[in-house]
């Protein structure tokens, strides 16, 4: 039964993504048709972050030093390498898939279960791919921008991608004693470590006139870059009004 858990979670996530847009009422802004809903979720996530995650991240920073945090980050990244490998293969990037496979083998052995990153020292640099990116390279459009509780910024394509990631990650399948608890613990530690690394970035985002808009634009731009689609800013298409030329 447990072997089917990852597939079930993935399917549930994909179904949620497909049905969600149908449950919401679209607004007038084509860039963000579910803005009202999204802003409510953004505020909810902000509250959750400020009351739980941010204090945890600061506490974690206090009780750990830089090498420990780097080791935890390396360990979490190493566990994602099989997923990156699968997505490289699905995107037909076989040399990258080979490099990712080498990284996983080197770091899991010489790097002691991925705590160290000797592969980067050897010149095999880390790449990161997920199934949302794979769908993007296959030409699947992102769909409307969404902010979901806990999950944060996403879109239907990337939400289906998250489901795909759970189902495609080979490390989700082996069964052993307390496997679900161990996976959950590793995910929680990786999450706190990542949140600690983002303390300054989140602070910068909060110091914007409209943090919601900044995050939305940043998400769209970053995902387009990850997929390899240049993010087109309409700056040059904009007509300059006559009065701007009076100086």
């Amino acid at each position: 039964m447990k072997t089917n858990m990852a597939i079930l979670r993935g399917t549930a996530s994909a179904l949620a993504a497909l049905s969600l847009s149908g449950c919401l009422t679209a607004g007038p802004d084509p860039e963000d048709p579910y803005e009202d809903f999204n802003r409510q979720m953004f505020a909810f996530n902000e509250g959750l972050d400020q009351s739980v995650l941010e204090p945890l991240a600061h506490g974690y920073r206090t009780v750990t030093n830089e090498p420990v945090r780097e080791g935890v980050g390396n360990f979490a990244n190493n566990l994602n390498e099989p997923l990156t490998f699968v997505n490289h293969v699905l995107q037909g990037k076989l040399p990258d898939a080979g490099a990712t496979f080498s990284r996983f083998v080197i770091n899991s052995t010489v790097g002691i279960a991925g705590i160290f990153d000797p592969a980067s020292t050897m010149g095999v640099q880390r790449t990161q791919e997920d199934f949302g990116q794979t769908l993007g390279t296959w030409g699947v459009q992102p769909g409307p921008y969404l902010v979901l509780p806990v999950l944060g910024p996403t879109n239907p394509r990337d939400l289906v991608g998250k489901g795909g990631d759970m189902a495609l990650n080979p490390l989700n399948y082996p069964e052993f004693e307390s496997d679900d608890e161990i996976r959950l613990g590793i995910a929680a530690l990786g999450g706190i470590n990542a949140r600690e690394g983002a303390i300054e970035v989140v602070e910068e985002l909060r110091n914007q006139v409209d943090p919601y808009t900044t995050v939305r634009r940043l998400y769209g731009r970053t995902r387009a870059e990850d997929i390899g689609i240049p993010y087109v800013e309409p700056n040059n298409a904009e007509e300059v009004p006559e009065d701007e030329l009076d100086f």
Partner: protein, 218 residues
Amino acid sequence: MKYKSALAAIAMLAAASPAAFADKKSEAYVQANANSVLSVLNDKSISASAREKKFGDYMNQFANMPSIARRVIGANAQGLSEPEFQRYYKAFETYALEVYQVHFDQFRGEAIRVTGSKDNGAQRSTVESLIRSSTTGKDTKVYWDVLLSKDGTSYRVRDVGIELGGSTLWLAQEQAAQFINYLDRNNGDIDKLIGRINVLLADMEARKKDGRGSAYKG
């Protein structure tokens, strides 16, 4: 006859595609003025407040700040009375200069190299340049959206685009997205926007005083 037709065809093509030409005057304007602005940030012979003042003066010569202030609030600018605009402009200018200073600070001590330009019509061109980022140590592409005045005598920068990853972050355009959305969510109330800007300015000031540095890391 064939020779004349060929000449006419070339002339027509040239007239139909003005975007294909570089604009050397805009390039020279950016080369000279951008380096002046960046050199101010590295001027250790003056105090921090004098440096900020000088940076602001240069930016006001280099860019049309009141015009940028109007543009970043979109159609909301049309409904503002002059006193309302002046109150908003005072807050905007201080805020924008602070944000630009932090973005440009990553190029402190470096000289820009103009690498080309593209005409976007008779009054506008995009100048491309490379600047070494002291943060990453790598060359960063910086684009300058330059306008030529109606009377053809002077130039002003309209927006600055910094390449991040594979995309370009246009600073004024980014501000416009936020300012316009903020106003839309607050019934176009300019005082709410001024209030929000002042909260951010107070935070910047507090950070400077207690040594935390800017929240805007560029």
